[in-house]
Each structure stands twice: as C-alpha cells, then as structure tokens.
Subunit: 119 residues, 2 copies
Amino acid sequence: MIAAYWAAAEARDWDGFGRLLADDVVYEGPQTRERVRGREAYIRFNVEGFPGDWHLAVERIVAAQGQAASWIQSVGSNGAETGLCFFQLDDRGLIVRITDFWPEPYELPASRSHLVERY
Amino acid sequence: MIAAYWAAAEARDWDGFGRLLADDVVYEGPQTRERVRGREAYIRFNVEGFPGDWHLAVERIVAAQGQAASWIQSVGSNGAETGLCFFQLDDRGLIVRITDFWPEPYELPASRSHLVERY
C-alpha cells in the first residue's frame, strides 16, 4: 500500500494515488503546522503544491496493523531531501492519516562531537 | 522492544537500555552525518551527549519483520522536539541499526499556502 502510494506519486498517477486514499484523508506537516483535509484537496495539494521535476526513491517502509512509516529520498530543484511519513489506514485499508516530516541538515553540536565519527 | 528502548532511555536505565542493543549496534544521524559504532560507545553517547533533564514520550511505534520506526516527543532545555527513528533488529531480536532524525519547524512556503490550513 505505501509502496504503491510512493510509486503513484513518482509516476504522477494522481488517479491511482487517489484510489489509495480515504475520502476523509487528513494530511499534516507538523514542522509548518499545515493541514489538508479530504482526498480531492490532498491530490490538489500534491499536484499544485509541488510542481517541477522531482523524483522519489523509497529507502524504507515499515507497516503493521493499520499503521506504517516510510523514509524516502526526494531529488528535485532543492537537491536531495529526506522525507519521513507516518500513515494510518482505515478499516478498508485506505490511507486516512498522513503525518509528514522533512528533516534538514544542521550543525553537529560541539557538546557531543567527541562522542561520534562523521561520515 | 522499541517501547522498552524508549522507556529505558526515559528512566536513564542504561543497563537495561544496553541489553536491547547488539554488540555491534550502529547509530547514525543523517542530518549531521554523525555515527556511533558499538554498544558501549552508543551508551556513552547517550549519557554524555545528552545531559540535562529531558523527558521522552512515545507518539507512535510501527514494527514488523525486524524493522521498526518510532515517533517521539522530547521535552528538555530546547523545549519540545520531535524525534523520528528507524530501527533494524538482528536475528536475535537486538537493535543493530538506528537512524535518527530531528525535524525542526520551518516557514510554510508561499507557493502552497493557498492549498492548506494552519493549525
């Protein structure tokens, strides 16, 4: 299910993408405190909110008992970015809740630099 | 397993925490490109790298087939922060790989502000 979600996004197959979503899907991005409610609004958010020639690659999907998490790489005009999503499925197996995070690079704090190696 | 990991960290029960880790556990923080190899080094990293009176609360754990993801809230001197971790377990069920992300708030891009509500 989650692999199909990302494959549909990568293919810009918005009909196929929409078939994976519950009517009342809710998307939240906690970093910006943005929210989108409903399948049509969420498809529009993806189509209009993220134009350009981005590509996605799935690094990891973990799924069990109506919940899932994914870790993807997106490459686009901002370079490579990491996307982390938590999903909930409804009792029909459709995606009903998406919580989306995009962590960005930051400076290693000096307070722990002696405890790690860099890569 | 992952719930026990976070409970041990919250309790500063580093012996119990260590018993959940493979000898050759590898921790990576992709945002800073920091890495820690081995159980003892990883315990030291947690004890010495993150002093202070932080507290953790688990928001979500998803686990299946030797893989897991967690979403936690940490509250400490930096205020509330969101931690997202992906785990791999070895064939004895011990944590052998940890990839840790700390997404931070950012400004909503104007390009999609008409497509979302704020919360």
